[in-house]
Each structure stands twice: as structure tokens, then as C-alpha cells.
């Protein structure tokens, strides 16, 4: 029988993987992709708590929905910024933006 604990453990593992990616990736696009994993782990936790613990409300599902919306907005702005970084520095790595010159 699948319980809430199963889903929360999976969400925690995804959170750990995403955190590892954010800290170890050198390419900034890959960092944004790891942030996506983090956001999805949170959305999964919200949705599972809503499904198992909340018989009448729907708040968890709505939270998961809004997390997806915010993730899409964050990613589009982040990619636009990275495009500018590529135009000014020629690469989207952490070395490229190491020094803050104009």
C-alpha cells in the first residue's frame, strides 16, 4: 500500500538531488535545470499531502499548480538573462561571470 511517507521520501530525495545539482553544476543553464527539480519536488510534496491528508480541500493541488506557473515564469526570465550573459561574456559558465565588470 502506498502511503504519504513514500511520496514524501521521494520528494525529499528529489530535493537532495536538486540541491546537489545547484551546488555542483558549472553551466548556468544546468543550474536552472536543477532549480526546476527542486521546484518539482516541492510541488510533489504539496500534491501528495493534499491527496492523502485533505479529503475536502484542494489547496495542495492549487499550490502545485501555482508552483508550475512560477517555475515557468522564473525559467523564461532566467533564460533571457543567460542569453544576455552569453552575448556579453561569450559563455554561460560560472567562470564567465566571476568578475562583475560592466
Amino acid at each position: 500500500m502506498v502511503t504519504l511517507g513514500h511520496f514524501l521520501l521521494l520528494s525529499g530525495l528529489l530535493m537532495a538531488i536538486g540541491l546537489y545539482g545547484v551546488l555542483t553544476r558549472r553551466n548556468l543553464i544546468a543550474v536552472l535545470m536543477s532549480v526546476e527539480i527542486l521546484l518539482n519536488a516541492a510541488a510533489l510534496a504539496f500534491a501528495s499531502v493534499a491527496a492523502f491528508r485533505d479529503p475536502s480541500l484542494f489547496a495542495g493541488q492549487v499550490f502545485a499548480l501555482f508552483i508550475i506557473v512560477v517555475a515557468a515564469a522564473e525559467l523564461s526570465i532566467g533564460f533571457a538573462i543567460l542569453l544576455n550573459v552569453y552575448r556579453t561574456h561569450g559563455a554561460v559558465t560560472d567562470d564567465a561571470i566571476g568578475e562583475m565588470r560592466g
Partner: protein, 156 residues
């Protein structure tokens, strides 16, 4: 039956998520991320919310990987350089800390799932959560305009 499906989905989710944050090839990482999100849509189906699964499939498993692949090609990032040794240490430490803080008790609680039909979700979204819904649409509009302005080529 359901437990088998969960373990199969969860195992593949973790494998592809680890691939997405460790593989050197950027295109492979983006495709692994797409598969991860696709499998998470399957987990939403197990949770009894087909609406969330459909949105996850359309946005996170389809639209975002396409955008990611576009930006990978536009910035010519074929590979991501391997992490520095202190980064690996910091990453493992943070992952361990996340596991300590977010661990769930497997087998805890009953397995009662309350399915939410897309109709219920939609009606509630437009009644109780109407204000956040509208704020979200304004946020998406702002993100779209902002991305266009930021990514536009400067004249001259």
C-alpha cells in the same frame, strides 16, 4: 499493484534526476530532465489528480525542455564542466542535510487517497482561489514581456 507502479516510477524518477544533474552533455541532461518530469506526471496520476498530471505533462515535460534545448543551442553549451572538488563536498553535504530535514516515514499513515477530478479543481480554482489565479496570469504576462525585453538584441 499500486505499490509496484509507485516503486517503478519512483526508481526511474530518481535515476533520471541523478542523470540530469550529473551528466556532462547538456542535451542529455535536458532530455533526462524531461523524462523525470514525464514520470512525475505519472506519479500525479497515482495521486488521483489527472488535471495536475496533464498540466505537468504539457508544461514541465514538454514546453520547458523545448525552451531549455533552444537556449542550450543558442548559447552553444555542449557540455557542462565537471564540478570542483569543494563543490562536490558542498553538494553532498547539502543533499544529506535535505534528506535529514525532509525525510518521510515510509509506511506511515493509511493509504487512503482522495481523488480530485479536473472539474472540482477548476471550479475551486475559479471560486476560492480566484485572486491567486488572476495574479498568476499577470505574473505570466509580466514574465513574457520581461523575457522579450531582456532577450531583444540591442540596436547599434
Amino acid at each position: 499493484m499500486s505499490l509496484t507502479a509507485f516503486y517503478a516510477l519512483a526508481a526511474f524518477v530518481l535515476v533520471f534526476a541523478i542523470l540530469a544533474v550529473t551528466t556532462a552533455s547538456m542535451v542529455r541532461a535536458a532530455l533526462s530532465l524531461a523524462i523525470t518530469f514525464f514520470l512525475i506526471a505519472g506519479l500525479y496520476l497515482l495521486l488521483g489528480s489527472p488535471a495536475l498530471a496533464a498540466i505537468q505533462f504539457m508544461v514541465n515535460a514538454s514546453a520547458i525542455p523545448i525552451m531549455t534545448l533552444f537556449i542550450i543551442m543558442m548559447t552553444q553549451s555542449r557540455t557542462s564542466a565537471g564540478p570542483r572538488s569543494w563543490q562536490i563536498a558542498a553538494g553532498l553535504l547539502a543533499a544529506a542535510a535535505a534528506l535529514v530535514f525532509f525525510k518521510g516515514n515510509v509506511g506511515h499513515g493509511d493509504g487512503q487517497i482522495t481523488p480530485v477530478s479536473p472539474e472540482t479543481l477548476g471550479v475551486n480554482l475559479l471560486q476560492a482561489a480566484l485572486l491567486p489565479f488572476e495574479v498568476a496570469s499577470v505574473l505570466l504576462l509580466l514574465a513574457m514581456v520581461g523575457a522579450i525585453v531582456l532577450a531583444r538584441r540591442r540596436a547599434g
